[in-house]
Amino acid sequence: MAEKTIKVALIGNPNTGKTSVFNQLTGLKQQVGNYPGITVEKKIGYCRLNETTRATILDLPGTYSLNASSIDENVVIELLLNRKDENFPDVVVVVSEVENLKRNLLLFTQIKDLEIPTILVINMSDRMKLKGIELDIPYLEAQLKTKIALTSSRKNIGIEEIKQRILEYQSLPTEPCLNASSIDPEYFDKLRKAFPNQLVYKLWLVITQDVNFLNLERNEMKSSFTKSHTELRRLQQKETIKRYQFINDTLKVGQTIDRSKAGNISARLDRILTHKIFGYLIFFVILFGIFQSIFDWSSVPMDFIDEKFAQLATYTATHLPPGEFTNLITEGIIPGIGGILIFIPQIAFLFLFISVLEESGYMSRVVFLMDKIMRRFGLSGKSVVPLISGTACAIPAIMGARNIENWKERLITILVTPFITCSARLPVYAILIALIIPEKHVLGFISLQGLTLMVLYLLGFGIALLCAFILHKVLDLKTKSYFVVEMPGYKIPMAKNVGINVVEKTKSFVFGAGKIILALSVILWFLGSHGPGDEFKNAEKIIEQKVYNSPVPVNPAVIPNWTAEYKLEHSYMGIAGKMIEPVIEPLGYDWKIGIAVVSSFAAREVFVGTLATIYKVGDQSEEETTIKEQMRHEIHEDGSPVFNLASGISLLLFYAFAMQCISTLAIVKKETNSWKWPMIQLVFMSGIAYVSALVAYQFLK
C-alpha cells in the first residue's frame, strides 16, 4: 500500500517551546542542514501519524511575525509565499504558549491570511493553573477558524492530539480571521485589480519585505505601488493594531485570567539576578563554575582519548607491515582523527552549559546586564556568550554567535573571538613561560610564572576588545541597529532538549571542522616525511658517512635521531622552514622554530610536538623536562642561546595573536558563508602577531 506523506511546517514565536514540540513529535529522527546559501539551520524531522501516513516536519526559525528582520525570519516568509517550494507545507502548525497567547496570536492571524490550513497549538498548558488562566477552546476555535491542540510538550501531553489534527488537515477552514486590507481599502483594491490571480495579503507582504516572490519582479510591483517608507510603516502599524484589536476582542471572551493567582516567581528572581551588585556577582560565579568544570571534567575523557589514540598508533605501527601506507595511517590519519576527537569533551560540556543557561531563560538576563559595556566595542550584549566560550575553544564559540541578530555585531564577534586564549595555547604557553620566566615570587606569594600566564589571558581579551573597537569604526556595514530582547519566564531546562542540542552541535563540529583538520594533518605528515632530491632519500647513508668520518667516536644510539633530524631538514617542511627564515629571523626565530610555527598553523598545540621531533627527544616519559632542557641548550652559531627572554616573549606574543587554527578558519567560513572573512581574519591576526613579536624582540634584544 502506498504511503502518504503530509508536509508540516512548525512555526511560532521564540520561547514558546516550539523546539520541544518538535523534539516530542520526531524524537531523534531529525536531520539538521542549512538552507542553501545561508547559515540558517534547517531542521527536518519525521513522524508516523498512523499505519499509512507519515509526516515530514520542518522546524522553521522562531519569529514574532511575518515581517522579517533577520535572515532566519526571511526563511519563514519565503517558504510560506512560494507554493512551488518543495518544502511548501500542506499544513502549518503554529505553536503558541498559554502565558503570551495574545502576542503569539499576531503571527497566527497573519498566517491565516495566507489561506494555508493552520492548526493552533497552545503549549505549556501545565502552567495554566499556576497562572490562573482559563480558556474557552470551542469559542476560540470558532473565532480563529482553526482547530486547537492544548499541549504541554514538557509533560508530553497533547502530542497525540497534534498528530490527529495533522491527519485531518483537509477539513481545516482556510478563510482568514480578519480583513487586513481594510486598513487602506483604496490601495488594496488597486493591488487586487492589478494582480487578480494573487492573494492580496501575499502582495502586501512582498511589498513590505525584501523577499522575491514567484516571477513577479519586486521592482516592477514597487514602481506601480510605491509608497514612502513612512507610509508603509504607518500601514504596518495600522495592520498590527487592527490584528491586536481582533485578538483582544477574541481573548476577552475566550480567555479568563485570574491575576491574583499569578504567582510571580520570575519577577522575584529577576530582582536578584539583574541586581546592580548581585547580578554581576552571580554571573561571575556561574562563569567561574563553568570554566572550572570544563577544564576539570573534560581533562579526564581528553586524556583518555589522547592515550587511546597513542596506543592505537603504536599498535598499528607494530602490527601492520612497514611501508608508506602504514606510515600514513600511524603518523597522519590516526593522530589526525585523534586531534578532532580530543575536542569533543570540551565542546560537549560547553554546549551543555550554554543550552542549560539558554533554556532556563538566564542567558537573556546576562545579555541585559552586559549590553551597555559591550556596545562601546561595537559588540552586543549577546557577544558575551561567544567570548566566554572562546577560552575553551573558538570553534563552538563562533557557532554560539548565531543568535546575534545584528549582522555587524555578529561578524565582529566572530572575527575577534579567536584572540581569546583557548585551551590549545596552554601547552605552548606553559613550556615557553617555564623557559624564560624565572621561578621567582614577587611580594613573597605571587608566582612570576603564574602572573605571566594571567597577563597573557588578559592580553588576549584586551586585544579582542581593541580589535572589535577598530573593526566597529572601520567596517561600513549598513545594518539596522536594534536591540529587542525578550525576557522569557524562568523555566527548568528539559533534559531531552538539552541532550538533543548537545548531540547535534557536537556532531556538526566533528563532521564540519573535522574533515579539514584530518586533511591538513595528512598533508603536514606528508610534507614532514617526504622531501625532494637525493639528500632526503640518502639521509641514512649521509649520516653513516658522517659518523664514519667523525674524528671522535659517536654513540650509536644518537644515529637514528641524527638521521631523523637530517631528514626533517631536507623534507618539504624543512625546506619551507629554511625558506621563511629571512622573514622570521627579525622575530628572533631560527628555521627549526619556523617549522614548528608553520606546522602549528593546523593547530597550535602541534608546536610542542614538532619541537620535540626537531630537537630529537627520544624519551617519551620525560618529554616535558627533556624538551625544556634541549630548548635551553639550543644555541645559535655564535654561541648565544636560541631561547632567551627576547625570543621567548616574541614567541609568546606571536602565539597569543596569530590565527593558527585551521579549524577556526573553517568554521568562520561556514558561519559567514564566504572565504573573504576567514582570509581577512587570517591576515589581520597574523599581521598583529608578526608586528608585536617583531617589536618585542627588537626592543628586548
Binding site: R103, L106, R271, V485
Partner: protein, 67 residues
C-alpha cells in the same frame, strides 16, 4: 519613568522604532511598566502588553507615555 512605575503609550516615532517592538505589543493605548534598569543605566527592562522585553535607552526615548 521610575522602576515599578506604570504608564500608557501615547505616541512614538514610527520611523525609528523597530517593528519587532510593535509586534510585541508596543502600541498606543497599551500599558507599560518599567521593571528594571540595567546596572549601567542601559538597557531598560519593561513589561509591555504582558510581554517582558529589554530595549536600549535610545529606543525607549522614541516612545511617549502618559501616567
Amino acid at each position: 519613568m521610575k522602576i515599578g512605575q506604570q504608564a500608557t503609550i501615547v505616541e512614538f516615532n514610527i520611523d525609528t522604532i523597530p517593528l519587532k517592538l510593535l509586534e510585541m505589543g508596543c502600541l498606543p493605548g497599551n500599558r507599560v511598566e518599567l521593571l528594571q534598569i540595567a546596572p549601567l543605566g542601559d538597557p531598560l527592562y519593561f513589561t509591555i502588553n504582558d510581554s517582558h522585553v529589554a530595549i536600549r535607552i535610545e529606543t525607549a526615548r522614541q516612545i511617549e507615555v502618559t501616567f
